[in-house]
Each structure stands twice: as structure tokens, then as C-alpha cells.
């Protein structure tokens, strides 16, 4: 199992009900982790609408996860 921190913002934070959590996972890639989170929280959120960041920088959905990583699923942005 890998221990990671996941942070949630905006609509995801509202749906999941918290800004952050420590999470244990066997997911290999961030996309697998996202699938797992959707199952845990019974959430329907198309991955195609989101971006993902690991350790405070954008990455691809097939990026590998390591213990200690901080992962953020990024809903459609609306700044400015």
C-alpha cells in the first residue's frame, strides 16, 4: 500500500466534504487513484473534465504514484 495525501478543491471538495485526506492505495497510476476515489465516494465525475497534479505540478493521468506524493484532482478552472 502507498500512503498519499489528496487535496480537494471547488466542486470536488463540496462533493467529498473535506479539503484534504491521507489515503492508502494500491493504485499504480493517478487515473487508477481517481477511479478508486470515485468508487469510495460514489461520485460520478468524468475524468476527461479534470486535470491532475502531483507534488504541486501538473502531470499526465498515467503518472505513477509513490508513497508520500500529494495528489490534487483539478476541476475545470474559472479564475480571472
Amino acid at each position: 500500500m502507498k500512503k498519499v495525501t489528496i487535496q480537494y478543491f471547488a466542486v470536488l471538495k463540496d462533493m467529498i466534504g473535506k479539503p484534504e485526506e491521507e489515503f492508502e492505495t494500491n493504485a499504480a497510476k493517478v487515473s487508477d487513484l481517481f477511479t478508486e476515489i470515485c468508487e469510495v465516494y460514489k461520485m460520478e465525475m468524468p475524468q476527461a473534465q479534470l486535470r491532475v497534479a502531483v507534488n504541486d505540478d501538473f502531470c499526465e493521468w498515467d503518472a505513477l504514484i509513490h508513497t508520500g506524493d500529494k495528489i490534487v484532482f483539478i476541476p475545470p478552472v474559472s479564475g480571472g
Binding site: 487535496q7 478543491f9 471547488a10 466542486v11 463540496d14 476527461a48 473534465q49 479534470l50 486535470r51 497534479a53 504541486d56 505540478d57 501538473f58 499526465e60 490534487v72 483539478i74 476541476p75 475545470p76 478552472v77 474559472s78 479564475g79 480571472g80
Partner: protein
């Protein structure tokens, strides 16, 4: 810092001073103001939230791109977070260059890129009591722009 996130009212006069320089002949700024209407629904106030670490990282990249693409010398951007009333400034962009051409182009580039790339989110609160996180329509068009990020 060329990019700042502030939870207090923005101060355009202060940011402008940071860009002043006798070498520059052109200075262009953009301000995003909180409107009272969106998509036919009256708005009472807005709420902005930011993923600070990545917002800063990505915004600084955008500012650097503006310098390299257009040759502007000094650029700055400040974005509000927290609750904003109608008429408040949500975002300020300034670009100063030797000539006005690069300043206009840089200013437009910065705000256009910020709106699709920087992890900041806006929630609208409506007069009817509902509220909702605004969807970035540009992002949907780009299928969330992974092409912005080639490392």
C-alpha cells in the same frame, strides 16, 4: 513577486508603481470586475478559491511566456481569493514595455492564459439563494488542455 494571491481588496496603484520605469513608454492594465449578472441570473457575490502552490507556479510560467513571446519587460498579476462583492476587482494584470504593442499583447495573453490554465475557481452566489462553481467553457472546448504542458 510578479504573481500574488490576495485575500484583501486589490490595490492597483501599488502594483502599478512596481512596474514604473523611465525606460518604458507603454503600460497596459486589465482589471476583472465582479458583475451583478451571469447567464441571466442575478448574482449577490462571488467566492474565489485557489490551489495556491500550483496557481503560483503556473501563473509565473505564463508571465515568463509573455515576456519571451512579446518582449515586454515587466509584468505583474494579482488575483483575489475569498468573498468578493459586486464591483470589486477580482484580478489585476499589468504589462509595461518599451512600446505599447508588446504591452497590449502581453496583457491580453496573460489574462487569456490565466483563465484556462491557473487552478483558481469561482463560485457564484445568486439572488435566488443558489450557488454554483462556474464551469470554464474554454476548458471544455480544449478538453482540458493537456497540450499546454510539455515538459
Amino acid at each position: 513577486m510578479d504573481f500574488e494571491i490576495s485575500d484583501k481588496s486589490l490595490e492597483p496603484e501599488v502594483y502599478r508603481k512596481a512596474l514604473e520605469d523611465p525606460a518604458y513608454g507603454g503600460f497596459v492594465t486589465f482589471e476583472g470586475w465582479v458583475r451583478d449578472f451571469n447567464e441571466n441570473k442575478p448574482v449577490t457575490h462571488l467566492e474565489y478559491e485557489a490551489y495556491f502552490a500550483l496557481a503560483e507556479r503556473e501563473a509565473l510560467r505564463i508571465l515568463q511566456e509573455a515576456r519571451e513571446k512579446f518582449g515586454v519587460k515587466k509584468v505583474k498579476c494579482v488575483h483575489r481569493v475569498g468573498d468578493l462583492a459586486i464591483g470589486e476587482i477580482a484580478v489585476w494584470v499589468g504589462a509595461a514595455g518599451v512600446h505599447r504593442g508588446e504591452a497590449f499583447k502581453a496583457c491580453e495573453y496573460i489574462i487569456d492564459e490565466l483563465k484556462v490554465r491557473v487552478p483558481i475557481w469561482k463560485k457564484e452566489h445568486y439572488v435566488d439563494g443558489n450557488s454554483g462553481w462556474v464551469e470554464c467553457h474554454e476548458c471544455k472546448k480544449h478538453v482540458h488542455a493537456s497540450h499546454h504542458h510539455k515538459h
